[in-house]
Symmetry: C2
Subunit: 240 residues, 2 copies
């Protein structure tokens, strides 16, 4: 791939296309360092001004980022989640050809706190499963999730089952329960030290916190708080 000097497409726009192409084919991978401006001048036989114009544009578009004194790097890949209907991390990752993995960090039966009880419309101190999971895509940690399920509705749920099935598949197959709708709340937060260590992030990095209350008919059956890495996830919606 090279810049076509006879084309009517401006050189900087051609260079942008070349770089986007290298990223999308995987020749350039996330966090890879780009050649320096001088190296790019030599590689493509175009001026430094043109290189800079392309770099500014690529940075504005989120394809690359600069680190002062270190160089220019390919930005981490982001996932886009459309908020049209109830979605599942596992299903979405499969669609993208990624291997979804859920590490069950902890699995306990606890008494519902008043917060959890209110969300799940339970009496305070009723038993609930408290399940903390790290969600990964192709071995990269993406989300830190804390889920509460009413104990009474799902007797005999085991950690092992959750490690080998998606949660929604399990609720469907073992308990004949399907999510009919869900309510979500989105908030920008900073990751805590604990979340940061699981997510391979710096403490204080931006993250999306999503609170989900999912119901089967009139009955709330799942309360989950997700912390998704800010540089990994974008949520989209159509409003009319």
């Amino acid at each position: 791939m090279s810049v076509d000097k006879k084309s009517r497409v401006p050189f900087y726009a051609q260079l942008i296309d070349i770089i986007i192409d290298k990223i999308s084919t995987g020749e350039l991978k996330e966090y890879d360092r780009l050649p320096s401006e001088r190296e790019l001048c030599d590689m493509y036989g175009i001026s430094r001004t043109t290189i800079r114009q392309a770099m500014i544009e690529l940075e504005n578009e989120g394809y690359i980022y600069k680190e002062h004194g270190k160089g220019t790097f390919v930005a981490p890949q982001t996932y886009t989640q459309s908020l049209r209907k109830v979605y599942s991390f596992s299903e979405e990752m499969k669609k993208l050809g990624k291997k979804p993995v859920s590490d069950v960090i902890s699995f306990n039966i606890v008494q519902a706190s008043s917060k959890v009880a209110r969300r799940l419309e339970l009496e305070e101190e009723e038993e609930v499963y408290e399940i903390i999971r790290l969600r990964l895509a192709d071995d990269e940690p993406i989300m830190y999730e804390t889920t509460y399920l009413p104990g009474q509705l799902f007797p005999g749920l085991t950690k092992r089952e959750l490690e080998t099935n998606t949660m929604y598949d399990l609720l469907r197959s073992k308990y004949k329960t399907s999510i009919s709708h869900a309510q979500e709340r989105f908030k920008a937060v900073s990751v805590s030290a604990k979340e940061a260590s699981y997510l391979h992030e710096k403490e204080g990095a931006p993250a999306m916190e999503i609170e989900r209350i999912a119901s089967a008919g009139d009955r709330p059956i799942e309360y989950t708080t997700t912390v998704a890495r800010g540089n990994k996830y974008v949520y989209t919606i159509e409003l009319s």
Copy 2:
């Protein structure tokens, strides 16, 4: 208001209700320091353990926050925006009895960058209005917004008009143009130094970045990037 020692409602739950009540009536305002645990013991004649239980719950629910070595404070008020249909900051704030103000920080006619051109389906370098506004509710800064409008569609738009009308009202009344639908992208980010100074936040604080492309029929007519303070704004959605 005091704790009713004869009631069957646990003391800590009564204390929670008392404090929530003081916050919602405005007797306790955001960032106000709460009395110390010892002072609360004396005020309500209940044990320190009970006070602590109530404080943990109030903190979990987001009503208060602790600052190490400084005490416990009333959390800043948050706004909840439902993502059901196209919404307007001004309209939403009026519904809540808040006075919405838009400070026009800058108002320029510029050539569309390739990013803006792509979003608005324009030719590169066509003229667009670039409008940077700080949105406030009752004098408190909430959002930092950068809007692009195609110049050709809205000839003669002035800074002064934007200072005295809501943008959507203006597009409707002066240009007979109404938004029919919009697409939004939500991402968690950290506020930049510049945004922080306008938003009265610390640089690096979490914020929600919302990219909106709003259309009238098939025609995209507005491209806005909003940075909303993370501790001020929550977005909710119903999924089915």
